[in-house]
Symmetry: C2
Subunit: 181 residues, 2 copies
Amino acid sequence: MSRRQQILDTAAELFAQRGFHGVSVADLGAACGMSGPALYKHFAGKDAVLAEMLVSISRWLLDGGRAAAAAHTDPDDVLAALVDHHVGFALEHRALIVVQDRDWSSLPDAAREEVRTLQLAYVEIWAEQLCRRGPSMTRDRARAAAHAAFGLINSTPHSGLLPDDDMRTLLTGMALAALGG
Amino acid sequence: MSRRQQILDTAAELFAQRGFHGVSVADLGAACGMSGPALYKHFAGKDAVLAEMLVSISRWLLDGGRAAAAAHTDPDDVLAALVDHHVGFALEHRALIVVQDRDWSSLPDAAREEVRTLQLAYVEIWAEQLCRRGPSMTRDRARAAAHAAFGLINSTPHSGLLPDDDMRTLLTGMALAALGG
DNA sequence: CGGCTCGGTTAACGATCGCTAACCTTGGCG
DNA sequence: CGCCAAGGTTAGCGATCGTTAACCGAGCCG
């Protein structure tokens, strides 16, 4: 594993535990086995670590969403694939999920705008499928429902009680039920 | 409105936007119309503001949960009342909801322990009702399901698109469906 | 009136932060 | 060998933070 990746992984864990502002560069360096300013050999600054982290996961989420939408035609099938993809991500990257909606506001302006755009596009994929299932669903209601489903699925990190497999089936079932499948 | 309460309300809003560590005492004072250290005439410190905020909302949530459990006998009815109570709280105190699961870790030790205890008791109320509905639900699964429902309901602040009434019916319906009512 | 409390001010202290500078060591290579 | 780039180190700078200290005006009350 490259040093860059080690820093990103460690930072995700620390940021998830104590928040972006609650982790110093010295903390982060120490957790990586080096001390303090060595981090600047790999990143332009503390902000840049957060930015790379959040932009890349937003891109990954959106790409998976697009793939799910392209792989099926029936909106129910697309939604099932979307839930699957999102649940898998949340289980595999619990720390990133926490950081994403906690420290979003600490991003530098450019990165924050990029993340915002990516997330909006991702929400639109969900909302479109929800609207395709029937005319009773307005676009805003669909967007709000998508956010609610994200909240449900993203609750994973807050309850580490179940083995991953059980958690996956529980969350998938609850999310699909909530979305009225 | 007392000065204390004004500080608490303003702090909830600011903490929700920028995080506990992202708001300085000077910021908080300025937002209240005074400047900086005047805050110490009302609170022992910045920590104490966060502590009072989170302890009081945890207590309020738990009290409402207990009332809901005492008001009905059928577990489905209790769950409906719990969802109602939680949705109402989330809609009325969006900022507090954000702060609670973002800045929980910034609490001083004593307050963090108290909040943890209160929240655990609250989760148990939900979990017990879920278990009472059938033997197929293990206790850990019930706890995880409760957390997932919280995540769903607490997504409110992230999507301010719908009027409160529409949001309330949407979230209530989704939460009950997710819980398998 | 005299004094006390309450709620505010500004100044300043010590700690910590992100970041830069200067230096050192190691490995690959012409 | 000589050199350079990569990836570390420590020292230290400037800014900002939470907090305290010292002071002050308004209002209440004996």
